[in-house]
């Protein structure tokens, strides 16, 4: 183990052992001007906040952001202290990767929140697509007069800019042949096809040249309803899959037609017996929890969207508003910050669920960065109290996650 690694790990242990930080109060109380700027930047027209004097739940982190010119060094924030250690070691760039927020209640105008945090994990050095870096995880609680109002698990990658990134491997692609081409043509056409014997009508999957039941070489197909039940599942963690981010959940699905099929399952932590429905992504059938499909939303991401949402979330990191600085740090342009992405996810779900819906939590993972010129396309599936949300750009999945909502 290198000396740098030892120093970082020792600092991580020291900071983690210090436990929960002292409460760091927000500089300003929850206030209408900040809420209006945030709603405008996110494009959220939900009238409820202003009418009831409430703050959008996804804003919770905004209140305790330190601002452009912090008055004093924030020694109480374990993420800040750990980041200083990593800066010192050369891991000077930062990108947020995961955020899981739970809302006990909405904040009201005039309330002053304070946040307490503790360091829960420092893992590295890891080779990532951005370069070598360390993942830092913290757990935070926001309080109003000692009453917990929201919690958050937050993970960032602190990385060394300009370090050589490993070439991103291509995902494993299916091999097709004369006996299976119909299936993959179906995927391209948005159909889930099952081989059916033209003579005896027997269904089978995986398909083959003929029918093991009657021996005929007259394969046809039927289009499946696309619904089924989880027979078993796997959550793959290690080793890395080419071109994929772990964990990947894979389900063995009993189709309602009576055959079984393997496919990735997105948007839920499954259980055997769960009802699922098929969608298609990346040229493969992908399963989702059975439920209501949300209307798709295309967000045209302009520099104004990125910069206004960064400022409205009080995130003044240069990579979100200064193109030259972003390029210097190895990015191709400025990119959306995680607080804004969280806001867009909130807006997507409440636009669909209506102003009366109450959000209980938003849990997201970030993938491909979102730059000016991108179209960020949101899709979602609602099942029970959960909405699985994904936001994709042309380069890949920018965000995936789950929103818990009650009405």
């Amino acid at each position: 183990m290198s000396e740098v690694t030892e120093t970082i790990e020792a600092a991580g242990r020291r900071i983690a052992e210090a436990g929960l930080s002292a409460a760091r109060p927000a500089r300003d109380p929850v206030n209408r001007p900040a809420i209006r700027d945030w709603l405008a930047a996110i494009g959220d027209d939900n009238p409820r906040y202003e009418r009831e004097g409430l703050a959008p739940p996804a804003m919770v982190q905004v209140w305790t952001m330190r601002g452009l010119r912090p008055s004093a060094p924030d020694d109480a924030d374990p993420l800040r202290v750990m980041s200083d250690v990593l800066d010192e070691a050369g891991f000077t760039s930062v990108v947020a990767t995961d955020c899981a927020q739970t809302y006990h209640r909405y904040l009201r105008e005039g309330e002053t929140v304070a946040v307490r945090s503790r360091l829960t994990g420092v893992a590295g050095p890891k080779r990532t697509a951005l370069g070598e870096g360390w993942f830092v995880t913290t757990a935070s609680t926001w309080e109003v007069d000692g009453e917990p109002v929201a919690e958050m698990r937050f993970r960032v990658l602190k990385y060394r800019p300009g370090a050589t990134a490993p070439a991103r491997a291509d995902p494993i692609r299916p091999v097709t042949g004369p006996d299976s081409a119909f299936f993959w043509a179906g995927v391209d056409a948005g159909e889930l096809r099952i081989q059916r014997c033209g003579k005896c009508g027997a269904l089978r999957h995986p398909p083959g040249p003929g029918c093991p039941a009657c021996g005929a070489f007259t394969p046809e197909y039927v289009v499946a309803a696309g619904t089924g039940t989880v027979h078993s599942y796997v959550v793959h963690h290690h080793p890395p899959l080419p071109g994929r981010r772990s964990p990947v959940t894979v389900a063995l699905v009993d189709l309602d037609e009576g055959v079984r099929m393997v496919g990735e399952l997105r948007g839920t932590r499954p259980a055997i017996g769960d009802r699922v429905q098929v969608t298609f992504a990346d040229g493969l059938p992908v399963w989702r929890p059975a439920g209501i499909e949300l209307p798709r939303w295309d967000l045209a991401v302009t520099p104004t969207v990125i910069i206004s949402s960064a400022l409205a979330t009080r995130d003044f990191q240069d990579v979100h508003h200064d193109r030259d600085a972003a390029v210097r740090r190895g990015s191709r342009d400025i990119f959306l910050n995680i607080l804004a992405t969280t806001g867009f996810v909130q807006r997507y779900v409440t636009d669909w669920a209506g102003p009366a819906a109450v959000l209980r939590g938003i849990e997201i993972r970030l993938g491909a960065p979102c730059h000016p010129g991108d179209t960020l396309t949101f899709t979602g599936y609602a099942h029970g109290d959960e909405v699985a949300v994904a936001g994709r750009t042309a380069t890949g999945e920018h965000v995936s996650g789950t929103v818990r909502v009650t009405s």
């Binding site: 097709t176 796997v234 080793p239 393997v262």
Partner: protein, 372 residues
């Protein structure tokens, strides 16, 4: 059946042999011939795994063998281990060869690691690998998850298989994990590989080689070592069989291919499960040890965990592939021979037969060995 394993040989088991696979093969074959008291010129047959990268003729050249009359390979990864011994037995009893050496050599840790995500050729893989089932662990995990659901077993039941294996390996100087036993808490704390499998549910990756010399039982009796007579050898594939992904059968949490092997082994040998002194079960992943016990008839369906917790049967006294090394099941056959001879480091007393199985989740194989 009238054949026996007359010699066993192996290299050291490591994570980085520092030598070619061919050299490992040659070292193991020479050691096995020495053990049997035979010379390279006695060898007239060679058999190995389809996956082995060392040509029979290269091994023959390097050991200095002369003419060969029998060359054979078996597919399906570790499922071949006992089947290549069956090939040798068939050749010897059919009279097409007199001395057949079975070998397997691999730099599986320092070279091509089976645990990494990769795609085998063929159309079958297209229904599984692109979707994210691209490692053996993930492919087994799909069956394991259903097994937990169907029979109410827990991941602790998987963990107890590893704890036992590591306890045995701890007293086996040839084992990679010699002197390093673990507790159930160590298993519980090990990281997820593919839920419900943790790191400590997965066998090691190893460098090494093992070779076995098969000849007629009659001739074996005159050689240097007491023979391990092959009382039964069997290969088996189940209905609707796939490689590691036989998910399309009515029952997913089962290994019917091992049932095919079991029925032949008991039928041909005349032994019953209760006669078995020790079982060397292929343990690439812990759930399949439990499921093999069920298929082999040591207990009912879903009851494998009770055989382990109640220690009803000595299993993998050498530490298995979880504890000793992963030589694709061949080190397990060598252990079975030592148990028959009475020379194993963790010797199980008695004179009953010893059962060995090969890789599961694929077309597989098994052997029953006993003394002359």
């Amino acid at each position: 059946m009238n054949a026996a394993i007359a010699g066993i040989g192996a290299t050291e088991f490591s994570k980085d042999s520092g030598r070619s696979e061919l050299r490992l093969a040659v070292e193991a074959v020479r050691a096995a011939l020495d053990d049997a008291g035979l010379r390279a010129s006695d060898v007239d047959g060679l058999t190995t795994f389809s996956m082995d990268d060392n040509a029979e003729i290269a091994v023959a050249r390097e050991i200095g063998a002369g003419e060969l009359t029998f060359l054979s390979r078996i597919g399906y990864g570790g499922g071949a281990a006992c089947a290549i011994v069956q090939q040798a037995v068939l050749a010897v009893t059919a009279g097409v060869a007199e001395t057949v050496v079975c070998y397997r050599a691999l730099n599986e840790r320092s070279g091509r690691r089976f645990g990494q995500a990769g795609v085998p050729p063929g159309l079958d893989a297209s229904w599984h690998y692109p979707m994210g089932l691209a490692t053996p662990a993930a492919q087994v995990a799909m069956v394991a998850q259903r097994y937990l659901h169907d029979y109410g077993a827990t991941t602790d039941d998987f963990g107890r298989v590893t704890v036992a294996a590591r306890r045995h390996a701890a007293t086996n100087p040839a084992a990679w994990f010699f002197g390093r036993p673990i507790t159930l808490d160590d298993h519980r704390a090990s990281r997820w590989i593919a839920e419900p499998l943790r790191l400590l549910d997965c066998c090691q990756e190893s460098d090494g080689a093992v070779a076995l010399v098969v000849t007629s039982a009659e001739r074996a009796r005159d050689l240097r070592r007491p023979p391990a007579v092959v009382r039964a050898a069997a290969q088996g594939s189940g209905p609707d069989q796939f490689v590691m992904t036989s998910y399309y059968r009515e029952e997913v949490a089962a290994l019917p291919e091992m049932g095919v092997v079991a029925r032949q082994l008991w039928g041909r040998s005349g032994f019953r499960p209760a006669d078995v002194r020790a079982a060397v079960l292929y343990d690439h992943f812990t759930p399949y040890v439990l499921m093999q016990l069920e298929e082999l008839g040591f207990c009912g369906r879903g009851e494998g965990r009770h055989v382990v917790t109640e220690e009803r049967l000595p299993i993998n006294p050498h530490g298995g592939q979880l504890g000793e090394a992963y030589i694709h099941g061949m080190n397990g056959i060598a252990e079975a021979v030592r148990q028959v001879r009475g020379t194993a480091v963790n010797q199980v007393p008695g004179d009953g037969p010893v059962l060995v199985t090969a890789g599961t989740g694929v077309p597989t194989s098994g052997l029953i060995l006993s003394g002359a």
